[in-house]
């Protein structure tokens, strides 16, 4: 695109002069605000905006190529931006927007006679404006439903990325195009897509280099590299559009169950512990999965680098339990009282308590029922009571 433009400017010194003359000719009609075509669409051109735009130096016919003079055809050929912007046009054809109705370029770049550079704050594709631009379609619940998508715009706007962008005006905050690309937006089912499952760590990692490095050092990242299809990727824990601040209580509350989706047994046994009980009551300062296992660089207990490897347990538990000793860390954070083989003392203690409860309530339950029936009869004035007392 840049070369085309350069070539045009280089070879066509006369272009501005010619176009100015031409443009004046066109504008003699098209500067009329009420001018409409046969179908009733406005064909008005705002000269001031056109002159301030990125295409100011181009004559009308540079884009409207089918118009050679006046009178011009009632239906001039559609403008092909790809004549100059050939790379972008190629990308669009390959993208999910190829089939979108209407003019794919203008859907994002707006008024064709008022296109400004992307770095201009007024541009609909300026970083801070991208979510609103994409949201003009993808924030439409009707459209989302039709395409089988969620209303990603509202999810994004409430996310940590959306906040950073809209509240703080952070230009480095991820917008739609940071993850989905600009012209070549591909479906997440396309292996070439930046949002294809296995490409996501690299996509997120293009900003979040630290977590990406940690992730690939951990077991989840290694599994992904080894081709493990079940290995979790960023989005499995952080979700995609509504990415929340990890410090938020509501987010931390949900994440236990997220780990539990794969680690079902560990989750179930965790739920039996004091850590989980406390956690369920909304107390954040308790051991949750990541407090012991870390999050991005999770390592198996057999790895000496792992915080849950036997040699590191005292330090890991000691984060909260100051004074933790080797004896203290023989506590099982995932003990299963139903597992007789692995935890015999716990198993028998639990069984004993069950029997005790059963015994006490079996005995006294029956005792109470019999007592109630008997004394209810004994209190009846029929004389049964007297018999009962002194038979």
């Amino acid at each position: 695109m840049r070369w085309t433009l350069a070539a045009m400017l280089f070879f066509g010194f006369a272009v501005p002069a010619v176009s100015a003359q031409q443009n004046a000719e066109c504008l003699s009609c098209h500067s009329e605000k009420t001018l409409q075509d046969q179908a009733g669409h406005s064909v008005y051109v705002d000269e001031a905006k056109q002159k301030a735009g990125v295409h100011a130096s181009l004559g009308c016919t540079a884009c409207h190529t089918s118009i050679k003079g006046y009178p011009h055809p009632e239906h001039p050929r559609a403008v092909n931006c790809g004549t100059c912007h050939s790379d972008e046009a190629k990308d669009i054809v390959e993208s999910v927007h190829a089939k979108a109705s209407g003019e794919p370029c203008l859907g994002c770049h707006g008024d064709p006679h008022a296109i400004v550079p992307g770095k201009d704050l007024q541009s609909p594709v300026f970083t801070l404006n991208i979510p609103r631009t994409c949201g003009s379609c993808h924030g439409n619940t009707e459209l989302a439903k039709k395409l089988g998508l969620s209303n990603v715009y509202s999810l994004y706007i409430d996310s940590i990325h959306g906040f950073a962008l809209t509240k703080n005006g952070l230009l480095v905050a991820a917008t739609c195009s940071s993850c989905h690309g600009t012209h070549k937006v591909l479906s997440h089912t396309n292996p070439e897509s930046q949002t294809y499952r296995t490409n996501i760590p690299a996509t997120c990692g293009s900003c979040h280099l630290g977590p990406k490095t940690q992730y690939f050092a951990g077991i989840h990242g290694k599994q992904l590299e080894a081709g493990g299809s079940r290995a979790p990727i960023c989005a499995d824990c952080h979700t995609v559009h509504q990415i929340a601040q990890v410090q938020s209580v509501s987010w931390q509350m949900k994440k236990l169950a997220t780990c539990g989706e794969c680690h079902q047994k560990q989750f179930a046994t965790y739920l039996d512990t004091f850590h989980a009980q406390v956690s369920a009551l909304g107390y954040v300062e308790t051991a949750r999965c990541w407090n012991c296992h870390r999050y991005h660089d999770i390592l198996p207990a057999s790895d000496p680098q792992s915080p849950v490897s036997p040699a590191n347990l005292v330090a890991t538990c000691g984060q909260c339990h100051s004074g933790a000793t080797q004896s203290f860390v023989s506590y099982h954070p995932h003990a299963d009282p139903r597992d007789r083989k692995s935890y015999p003392p716990l198993y028998f203690a639990a069984q004993f308590m069950n029997l005790l409860l059963l015994g006490v309530f079996g005995f006294f339950g029956l005792h109470t029922i019999l007592w109630f029936v008997r004394s209810a009869f004994a209190r009846r004035p029929s004389g049964l009571r007297e018999k009962g007392v002194s038979k």
Binding site: F328, P337, L346, A350, F361
Partner: protein, 289 residues
């Protein structure tokens, strides 16, 4: 009998004929009051933890100020109850060991189970089945002794397991950390045993059974009428009569105390029933899935 007793309770200020037997001293009633309050406190703050996945558990925790508040009240009540328990042990040791008071560790006035308790249980069950007469109970009936020892061992077991978890790093110097897994199971299940026993069995045995309905106020007033004593504990009545130690008084318990007892009693019983219902449904829902 009950109707009469209640009637006498309403009119005893003027009823010169009614005499009262002092069954519990002020000291014992104060201790029991501490047990009531701390037990309810411990139950209210502990059961949401035991059933932390339940809607009512999380809702309650949120209302009182989250887990930190719950834990504070739980520990506060635990310390109070521990003090009451130790005072009771001290009282027993002082009276039984130091002052050599007789009948504390054995005999009809003792809480220690006797052969008579086994016989009474047998006789009581026979009476339930219309097979024999009602046994003549002495000072403490076998179910009252069971109540006492259930609470006694309950406090010891729940207390030790609770303190071990409270001061886990310290206790880990003496016991392996894997015992804390067991401590939590025992603490939680023994607590369930305790609350269910109190809210279902103790409430029925003591207050709600037809002979005591709606409420036995003796733990508030300390006093039973002579008639109640004679009918409920014939052997004690007979024994005291023969020993000449009946020591009845005509001073009736004050009306405010009885009303206070009724009010407190009903609040506790209703709270207990709510907790009983919530915990039972959560328990069986959890074990059902």
């Amino acid at each position: 009998m009950n109707a009469e007793a209640r009637q006498s309770g309403l009119t005893d200020q003027n009823n010169q004929g009614v005499r009262f037997y002092v069954r519990f001293s002020l000291w014992q009633r104060y201790l029991h009051a501490v047990v009531i309050v701390t037990f309810m406190g411990l139950g209210l703050t502990g059961l949401p933890l035991r059933f932390s996945g339940s809607v009512w558990g999380t809702a309650f925790a949120r209302v009182v100020g989250g887990f930190s508040a719950i834990l504070f009240f739980h520990k506060f009540c635990a310390v109070l109850l521990t003090v009451a328990f130790l005072m009771h042990l001290g009282d027993i040791a002082y009276r039984g060991l130091l002052k050599r008071q007789k009948g504390i560790f054995w005999g009809p006035n003792s809480m220690v189970p006797q052969l008579k308790d086994l016989k009474d249980l047998y006789g009581h069950v026979r009476w339930f089945l219309w097979l024999g007469p009602r046994p003549k109970f002495d000072r403490f009936a076998y179910w009252e002794k069971f109540d006492y020892w259930a609470v006694f061992w309950g406090m010891a077991i729940i207390g030790i397991s609770g303190y071990s978890m409270w001061f886990a790093p310290f206790f880990a110097k003496f016991i392996p950390g894997s015992w804390f897994n067991i401590a939590l199971v025992i603490h939680g299940e023994e607590a369930l045993l305790a609350v269910w026993f109190i809210f279902a069995i103790h409430f029925f045995n003591t207050h709600l059974r037809p002979d005591s309905f709606p409420m036995d106020l003796v733990m508030f007033t300390g006093m039973e009428t002579e008639k109640e004593l004679r009918e409920r504990r014939p052997q004690l009545y007979q024994r005291l009569l023969e020993e000449g130690k009946l020591g009845l008084t005509t001073v009736a318990p004050p009306r405010w105390l009885k009303n206070f007892g009724r009010a407190v009693g009903w609040v506790i019983i209703l709270a207990g029933f709510v907790l009983l219902w919530l915990t039972l449904t959560s328990f069986f829902r959890a074990s059902g899935t």
